[in-house]
């Protein structure tokens, strides 16, 4: 570990926050927070959904300004006035929600922000990217248009962009949420190498094991206030388990031994029943930079959860969209409860009981400027009792929305708040509430717990299990192997747009899925 070397350089903070407060209408997002960020340290920032983590780094990266308190850079009070200014100060940020320009290529995005009078240095960039990607163990398609990449691939581009800029301080806001376990380990190793070179890293995550494995120092936020810190000396003294339980105690004030301990799914073996969802030879044509689907076939019976494992960008999005009707399939059939639905529109499939929880919550899942209340009913516009004869029933909408907000613990200042103003995890809760509400038969979950904090992740997983237990068929797409192992009856592995194998979720499932993912037979 670098911790030894770090204590020698750690004397001075690269960046320090002193009593920083940030208010939004109806909420104090940060309440006099002190934070010191030192070279040679991975500073892990933890906290529930809406605790104020993203707001804090928004101020570090110049997107927002503190209402009170000050930010010191190299010991000098420095207002960080704009993202450009932050970059000039050596602060590079990977934001929770994608900030790439979708109509430009990856290379163009990486070159953005250079001096306007210079010609973009494309060859230099290619060399630099090749260097970084080889250490990261990722591949990036420099000439692909960003809009054609999956969110996971976009996340990798964002990480790359922050690194190309030679930052002294690298901030990663939930950057592991779309990586596979292997990718996460690689990112962890990379962070270690970077701090050894004297960089400082701020790392936000909801996965406590990552915090314990990659961190040097941990700060915990709760309701905007900093409620605890584990400095490097203590951090080293504690074992992983002790750290995790200390964090859980700080965050939730509750002792739990292993919060993510996997309960084996209760087998609701209904081998005799007819499948609720039957997919046969579903094929989607590939585009230049996105894989298509090559004859995908599977069945899901009522009460069953089928998992789709695989590295993001291998056709998961295409599969989900083809099933939901958002993407045209070239051939193949999809049967819901025996009836063919492959020619139906998105709306008709939904009316038949097909639900699709997208992983792109701001891009297509919500209308950011619309109030939280309306976003709950985006897919039901015009339906009773929220609309009668086409006329909006404000009271009905607000009543039901308030109920969902309570039930799903959505933290929002009011029902009228534009949904984009909520924290990432809370937007996710809005989507979950919308898709799980009545009338569903088959639900496609694409990364359902992405961005949720521990408590909400556990609650949502339980909800998905309950959904299945009610006799629904569930397709669970996730890059998180633990999640799949903890919930599914069977797990299929997707690679390059094809299902390369399906395994029963028995004791040896982990190794089998792992082998399939690296291209071996199970």
């Amino acid at each position: 570990m670098s911790s030894l070397s770090s204590s020698s350089v750690a004397g001075r903070d690269i960046v320090a926050l002193e009593g920083v407060t940030k208010r939004f209408p109806g909420i104090v997002a940060n309440d006099s927070v002190d934070l010191s960020i030192r070279p040679g340290e991975v500073h892990v920032l933890l906290g529930e959904n809406g605790a104020g983590k993203s707001t804090l780094i928004g101020m570090l990266s110049g997107l927002q300004q503190p209402d009170e308190g000050r930010i010191l850079v190299d010991g000098k009070p420095t207002p960080i006035t704009s993202p450009r200014h932050a970059l000039a100060l050596g602060i590079g940020t990977v934001f929770q929600h994608m900030m790439l320009v979708p109509t430009l290529t990856v290379a163009e995005n990486l070159l953005l922000g250079g001096p306007w009078w210079q010609r973009p240095r494309t060859e230099e960039l290619a060399a630099r990217v090749a260097e970084i990607t080889s250490t990261l163990g990722i591949t990036v398609k420099l000439h692909a248009k960003v809009s054609e990449l999956s969110l996971g691939e976009q996340q990798q581009v964002e990480i790359l962009r922050a690194m190309v800029r030679n930052s002294r301080l690298l901030i990663l806001d939930e950057s592991t949420s779309m990586l596979t376990p292997k990718g996460i380990d690689e990112l962890g190793a990379l962070m270690r190498r970077l701090v050894e070179q004297g960089l400082a890293i701020v790392f936000i995550t909801h996965k406590l094991k990552e915090a314990a494995a990659f961190g040097d120092r941990i700060s915990v936020l709760k309701l905007g206030r900093k409620v605890g810190e584990i400095p490097p000396e203590r951090f080293r003294a504690l074992g992983e388990q002790e750290i995790v339980s200390e964090i859980v105690e700080l965050m939730f004030g509750k002792q739990k031994d292993d919060p993510e301990a996997v309960e084996r799914p209760v087998r609701t073996a209904r081998a005799g029943t007819a499948p609720l969802l039957q997919v046969a030879d579903l094929t989607v044509a590939p585009t230049d930079n996105a894989p298509g689907l090559s004859s995908i076939s599977f069945d899901i019976r009522p009460g069953e959860i089928l998992g789709i494992a695989g590295i993001d960008g291998n056709g998961q999005k295409q599969l989900a969209e083809a099933l939901a009707g958002q993407r045209a399939a070239t051939s193949g059939s999809v049967r819901l409860d025996g009836a063919a639905i492959e020619t139906l529109s998105v709306g008709d499939r939904r009316r038949r009981g097909l639900r699709y929880l997208t992983d792109d919550r701001l891009g297509e899942g919500t209308v950011g400027t619309f109030p939280v209340s309306i976003n709950f009913f985006l897919k039901q516009v015009g339906a009773a009792p929220f609309w009668r004869n086409g006329v909006e029933q404000r009271a009905e909408i607000d009543k039901r929305a308030a109920q969902l907000v309570r039930e799903y613990d959505v933290r929002t200042p009011s029902l009228k708040t534009p949904v984009a103003r909520l924290s990432g995890g809370n937007i996710q809760k809005v989507l979950l509430a919308r898709e799980l509400a009545e009338g569903a038969k088959v639900v496609i979950f694409n990364k359902p717990t992405y961005g949720l904090d521990l408590a909400n992740t556990l609650a949502s997983r339980q909800r998905i299990r309950d959904t299945a237990a009610r006799g629904l068929a569930v397709l669970l797409i996730s890059t998180d192997l633990e999640e799949l192992l903890g919930m599914c009856d069977r797990i299929a592995v997707i690679a390059n747009g094809a299902l390369v194998g399906t395994v029963e979720n028995a004791d040896d499932a982990r190794t089998k899925v792992g082998r399939l993912m690296i291209g071996l037979a199970a």
């Binding site: 709306g347 933290r411 200042p413």
Partner: protein
């Protein structure tokens, strides 16, 4: 605190705050709208000074003719009728994120069909039915005219700004051709359509010269406002406008809605043409093109596509155009100076918006 006791929504407690915030927002909005308008008046005044015209005299004439003289205000209110219909059509389109800039072509085709049909209909059926049928025909013709850009946008993704502008050139020319060839009144020497007798036109309000078309226009814009804000259909259009991908994801039939938006928007523009002819002009002269469609666009923007605010801005626009015409005559300023004034207002507003944004950012520092 445990997970269970963590606060859920404190909606009741916080709704109050959001209420006060919106009130402050409205105040801020008004300041941000009226301030730039005043600034624009000053700037336009300087331009007038530069060309040797007394700005105070100019503004005085504008106000006197457009607002304070009894005859002027009646003309102003009459002028509002077609403008309101056009504004209503633009609100629908802009809120759905579709830039129907073809209002003038649609307006003129509506006007010409109304002018051609109304004098014929009044001879064969009761007056109210005749006018109603003329309105209907004008609306349908304008809708058909919008079909090309609508279908191209809905199914081919062709940018509607370009197509509607092209269709407006074709539309004005076609309207002209119709006046000069097909619908020309044989009894006059100047090329124009047959004239609808004054007693068959839309009734005037009370003892004034104000057309009752004003009431129709007000009704149109209020209905549009209510439909856009209170109904499922309006919400669907707003979803398409605010986030087209979310519209697809939510299962809305985006192509169908696109065609509907163009039809409604163009239909209202056609009605605007009809209300101007049937209410006021009585006929269409060759080469007549008041270009209301383009003039209304800034008013709708200033109103931020809000129906009520649009009524206010359309009123201002009418005052300016009626008053400006007369002031221009008396002071020798070109008639188009009103357009200069409106565009200065727009530019100053955009600048104010930009600096307000910058100021907000730095103030939070």
């Amino acid at each position: 605190m445990s997970i269970d006791t963590a606060p859920t929504v404190s909606a009741t407690a916080l709704d109050a705050t959001s209420g006060t915030v919106t009130r402050r927002d409205i105040l801020h909005r008004m300041l941000m709208t009226l301030g730039p308008i005043l600034a624009a008046l000053v700037i336009a005044g300087c331009i007038l000074l530069a060309v040797g015209v007394d700005p105070l005299a100019y503004y005085g004439f504008v106000l006197e003719k457009g607002l304070f003289s009894p005859l002027g205000i009646q003309q102003t209110l009459t002028r509002m009728a077609p403008l309101l219909f056009l504004a209503a059509g633009l609100i629908v389109a802009f809120r759905a994120g579709m830039w129907n800039l073809g209002g003038d072509g649609q307006f003129l085709l509506g006007a010409v069909t109304a002018a051609a049909s109304a004098p014929v209909f009044v001879q064969i059926m009761p007056a109210w039915l005749a006018l109603f049928c003329s309105f209907l025909i004008a609306m349908v013709v304008a809708m058909i005219w919008s079909l090309v850009p609508a279908l191209l946008r809905a199914y081919q993704g062709v940018n509607e700004i370009i197509t509607t502008l092209m269709m407006t050139f074709l539309g004005t020319s076609l309207a002209n051709v119709l006046v000069k060839l097909a619908f020309r009144d044989p009894n006059t020497t100047v090329p124009q359509t047959r004239t609808l007798p004054v007693e068959d036109r839309l009734p005037r309000l009370f003892e004034t010269t104000i057309t009752s078309g004003l009431l129709l226009g007000l009704a149109a814009i209020l209905i549009v406002h209510l439909v856009m804000t209170r109904t499922a259909f309006g919400l669907k259009l707003r979803i398409v406008g605010a986030n087209p991908r979310a519209a697809v994801h939510s299962g809305l039939g985006v192509p169908g809605l696109t065609v509907a938006v163009f039809a409604i928007s163009a239909g209202l523009a056609g009605l605007a043409g009809a209300v101007d002819i049937i209410g006021v002009q009585g006929n269409v002269r060759a080469d007549w093109n008041p270009a209301y469609g383009l003039a209304v666009i800034p008013a709708v923007f200033l109103a931020r596509m809000n129906g009520f605010a649009a009524i206010g801005f359309v009123f201002l626009l009418s005052v300016l155009s009626i008053g400006g015409e007369s002031a221009a005559r008396r002071l020798g300023v070109p008639n188009h100076f009103t357009l200069v004034l409106v565009s200065i207002v727009l530019i100053v507003l955009a600048l104010a918006e930009y600096f307000d944004h910058r100021y907000n950012q730095s103030r939070r520092a």
